[in-house]
Amino acid sequence: MEGSIARQRMNKILTHIVLIIMSFIMLVPFAWMILTALKTNQESISVNPFYILPHNGWHWENFATVWKSYNFLILYKNTLLMIFWRVVCACLTATMAGYAFGRLKFPGKSFLFSLVLIQMMVPAQIFIIPQYLMVSNMGMLNSMFGLVFPGLVTAFGTYLLKTGYEGLPKDLEEAAMIDGCNIGQRFTRIMMPLTRSSMVSLGIFTAVFAFKDLMWPMIVCTNATTTTLSAGLAKMQGQYGSEYPTMMAAATLAVLPMVIIYVIFQKQFVEGIATSGGKL
């Protein structure tokens, strides 16, 4: 008995060592971003001599410069709104379609699903011009709808949720069928809550993709008050060009809300255990 406790402790320590090493590897660029933001321009581009830490004092004023030169509150607001709507649309449409593809039988299923797959196989650049024309023909340039438009539905999410639904045990649904629930009730009351983890990961990915989608906000919103963070960031890049410290300060400020969103979302992962563990 004692031996196994010692072994467990060993295991835990080993796990932590592996995780810490990996954390370090993954953290480097992020740390780099913040450290560069605190350097002088000269320091930031020198490879030889190479400074990891800021050498000539810590230049916190880089953050102030960036904060002042752009209206970050508006950018935050637009970005969060765009992310919110894209996540809502993606989760709603994808969970419905995913349930149908994962659990229901209907003629033409494999054909329709292959359409979903094909959407993911073509380079995204071919969608830009037609989608821009659609938004412009609808008179939605410079609007929130225009920003959300390409994210109304998601092939990736549909596939993800289909996988999630397929993994659920069959007996649950059969029990509900015997209770006289129709398919819609089965879906909203039993199946959907069980795929919470998949929905959370879809939410996270939708948010990340929406956040990183620089191209789209830039083309549909020429107006400064409807621009999002990443597009604003790109504009800054144009302004500061090779001034890495300022650019990195801007990037750090831009990333903050995403990190906060993730921290909130990933709590849902932990809760996912409790719900699915309790019901099964």
Partner: protein, 295 residues
């Protein structure tokens, strides 16, 4: 010979159509209209200057299929996928399994592994450029080597693949964690009572029950890796001699469609890529029926 559907089946199909309708309508408007446009363009010639599309039949296909650079970049892309897909998945799976245990600081680790996904591409590029720098880079200094990591055509594709693996780990890991969450805990409890060791549990419970998620990741990452576009440009300059040996097929499409304004030729490259991925996907789907465990 069409089988007649029973009433229950009909009802089920009606619900199913209702559920897929929003997604399908959206996909057709948002994505399939542009895809059909691309298919049409692949039969046209567009040198632009406001001329628009001129129908030329199969001439583009002839040109694309007989061009050496098409096959070279397709091969480059496959080589990249051969690094990114397996390594990215295995490392992420190990991390996800470790992070699914009840250990201290789990949320912190998960957050850290997620960070590369939101990090500014410029920061990522700067770090990797410095790591790979021939004279002053960390890698060469640590190993006392003098390797040109990104300008030697023989090595460059591996260097790029490493960046690819690094940037995809967080993505795969989030998916694996959510897949692991959906495995009921009592399976493990039962196995523990039976005295199955950790490794046994991993192979007899985790692997089969996680196989749908794994298959999903394999499928989406293969597609993702084969349509990779901008990774090379984060660290490589346009003048880099190794570029022809690492440039991806989507890059080639971009060159023709955007830079040179020859949309017809670019569209044809997309069609070739699409055909290739479709064949792969079809094979994968056959494998799925055999290898994936369905509850």
């Amino acid at each position: 010979m069409k089988k007649k559907m029973t009433l229950a089946e009909k009802r089920e199909a009606r619900w199913a159509y209702l559920f897929v309708a929003p997604t399908m309508i959206g996909l057709i408007v948002l994505n399939f209209y542009p895809i059909f446009n691309t298919v049409y363009q692949s039969f046209c010639k567009t040198g632009d200057f406001g001329k628009g599309n001129i129908f030329v039949g199969l001439a583009n296909y002839q040109a694309v299929l007989s061009a050496g650079e098409t096959w070279q970049s397709l091969w480059n892309t496959i080589k990249y996928a051969l690094i990114e897909v397996p390594f990215g998945i295995v490392i992420a799976l190990i991390l996800a399994v470790l992070l699914n245990k009840k250990i201290g600081g789990r949320s912190i680790y998960r957050t850290i592994f997620f960070l590369p996904m939101v990090c500014a591409p410029a920061a990522v590029a700067m770090v990797w450029k410095w790591l790979y720098n021939t004279q002053f880079g960390l890698l060469n200094n640590v190993f006392h080597a003098n390797i040109s990591w990104i300008s030697d055509p023989k090595i460059a594709w591996i260097s790029i693949g490493i960046i690819g693996v690094w940037s995809i780990i967080g993505y795969n890991m989030v998916l694996f964690i959510s897949g692991l969450q959906e495995i009921p805990g009592d399976y493990y409890e039962a196995a523990s009572i039976d005295g199955a060791s950790g490794l046994r549990q991993f192979f007899s419970i985790t692997v089969p029950l996680l196989s749908p998620t794994t298959f999903f990741i394999v499928q989406t990452r293969i597609i993702g890796a084969l349509t990779i576009f901008d990774l090379m440009f984060m660290v490589m300059d346009k003048t880099n001699v190794a570029l022809p040996k690492v440039q991806s097929i989507v890059y080639l499409f971009y060159q023709y469609s955007f830079t040179n304004g020859n949309k017809g030729y670019g569209a044809t490259i997309v069609m070739v890529l699409l055909a290739f991925i479709m064949i792969l996907t079809w094979i994968l789907q056959q494998v799925e029926k055999k290898a994936v465990y369905h509850a």
